[in-house]
Amino acid sequence: MALRDAQGPYFGEFGGRFVPESLIAALDELEAAYADAKADPGFAAELATLHSTYTGRPSIITEAPRFAEHAGGARIILKREDLNHTGSHKINNVLGQALLTKRLGKSRVIAETGAGQHGVATATAAAYFGLNCTIYMGEVDTERQALNVARMRLLGAEVIAVKSGSRTLKDAINDALRDWVASVDTTNYIFGTVAGPHPFPALVRDFQKIIGEEAREQVLVLTGALPDAVAACVGGGSNAIGIFDAFLDDEGVALFGFEAAGDGADTPRHAATISRGRPGVLHGARSYLLQDEDGQTIESHSISAGLDYPGVGPQHSWLADLGRATYRPVTDAAAMDAFRLLSRTEGIIPAIESAHALAGAIELGHELGEDATILVSLSGRGDKDMETAAEYFSILDSSEGPCS
């Protein structure tokens, strides 16, 4: 079987549905609606029209030669998901799921969000389709991504700051699941990444795989060959699986996921789930997980809210165990260096999440040498991160000044 054909509920020993019985009917209903939609050419056509008239797809690729000078001279090509409407890859998935919400006849959507990009995309789709919208966001994240909270509210969504647990993405998912248990009759849960119970890992991947399908063609046209390596950051793993998918069965293309290593993967403060976790069950699926000896989830840490998650999508766990994809940690410091480097060499300010992939690409470039071509998922833009970046660099760069 081709790797691209994996449909869940299991990816090897990972995946499944570990949720309260109350949610099974809703998951079954969603799975059936999606199967229906897949069989209906009208659905794909409607989504394609939305992407060309609203999202701004296809997104372009941009070669980054001045950045590449710092990456061992390898060719670096950026897939520009940052140029999508709302500023990240999250919209790809949200529009698909919003169309499914319409097919389900439901009038309200809920979502969790970490960096706020998935929340903004969901609030945007809710405004566009006239749906009621509630977004759950950890209190810590509402503070470090305040701009996105304002965007969601402006778009008409209710934003609930989640105060339980670590007050970040994992707790936002818990509260969204609690809401959904009580509201499934009217509400669809637009899940933001390729984690969670079946069918989300397969469904979200299917809506994100357009990233790699476009990029594969675009790189072939530009260079006449497939890239040697593909690099993406991994939070739950949706932009990564989105760009990997088209290449899964291309044996010559190495796939690299870069996880947030916070202060360092060997310190207690990181979010390097595959690199440092072990298999367990969280948020409805069996996958790699940061957990203590007892199976309590360990709070993750990352400067990037969108990668600050102690779990990861089950398909990534499977690809890691198969050896088809390689997952490596990238520290806050390395990501912030790459963040600044791309800004200054190419005039593109990336999301801090995406900066982890850029830091990984620098590392890969040095390893693979100047003949290599590396395709990088630039999953989002950095506008939302300006406060974090200003604070970070004014400390590190006090002698240099912010505008040297």
Partner: protein
């Protein structure tokens, strides 16, 4: 050992129904949680459901979330669950069930848990986030050890799913009264009665209703159609605000709802 089935039967034969009390292990500390469970059992509660505090309790509302978070801050470890089970069973003859989110059992080892839990005198496991479809390993381990296996039935479950849940449950079926999480509610949902009727129609013997029950009147009305009433948040709140004395008073109050209802 008294099984939860025999306790429920005895209550039913006497014309009433069973009262099952939930408390988290380690809240507010390990010893008090053990004393609290014994207090419930000495004051009219028929069986205990010990919750294992967990970092991501998606089935729980604010009261139980806060209590289990405090238990974890105060040093709860999963091994305390087994300690609590044997300490309670040494002091009193009654069924002690555990309610645990699945990852805690997976990490302990499903077979290892079944063995140690049986040795501690436990009677069964309630699995809020493990559906029968994913439970092969637990079904084998519980069949081997004879532990009760309590799956949840929800108002949204299809008839086919209810059938699976009832066939694979042992002890009782945890009948979720409402589409929601744990926590006291002013009214126990009418959905509970409908769901119990559907379970009866497929031959379920013991259907116990949980979620939202906090008064003697609610216990009484639930036991008009169900075999047991499960109370969690109301006991946790009583323990939190007034300690063992308040918990005892709450147990006596709720137990008054269990007698001769039909």
């Amino acid at each position: 050992m008294t099984s939860v089935d025999s306790v429920i039967r005895a209550r039913r034969d006497a014309g009433g129904g069973a009262l099952i009390g939930y408390l988290p292990v380690g809240f507010p500390d390990l010893q008090t949680s053990i004393d609290a469970a014994v207090t419930l059992l000495e004051n009219g509660v028929d069986a205990i459901e010990l919750g294992a505090p967990y970092s991501d309790p998606v089935m729980d509302g604010p009261v139980i979330q806060a209590a289990t978070e405090r238990a974890r801050e105060n040093g709860f470890r999963f091994a305390h669950v087994l300690e609590a089970v044997s300490a309670i069973r040494e002091r009193i003859e009654a069924p002690v069930l555990v309610m645990a989110y699945w990852n805690l059992i997976v990490q302990y080892g499903v077979d290892r848990f079944a063995d140690h839990f049986t040795a501690a005198g436990g009677s069964g496991l309630i699995t809020p986030d493990l559906i029968p479809d994913e439970a092969a390993e637990w079904i084998t381990a519980s069949d081997r050890t004879g532990l009760d296996r309590v799956f949840l039935a929800a108002p949204s479950s299809s008839d086919a799913r209810l059938k699976t849940v009832s066939e694979l449950s042992r002890g009782f079926v945890y009948t979720v009264s409402t589409m929601g999480v744990t926590g006291a509610r002013h009214e126990v949902d009418a959905a509970a009665r409908g769901l119990v009727d559907r379970l009866r129609a497929i031959g379920v013997g013991n259907a116990c209703v949980g979620l939202g029950i906090s008064t003697a009147d609610q216990v009484r009305s639930v036991l008009e159609y169900a075999d047991g009433a499960i109370v969690g948040s109301a006991f946790v709140s009583a323990l939190d605000s007034g300690g063992l004395e308040a918990l005892k008073a709450k147990a006596i109050e709720l137990a008054s709802g269990t007698r001769a209802t039909r």
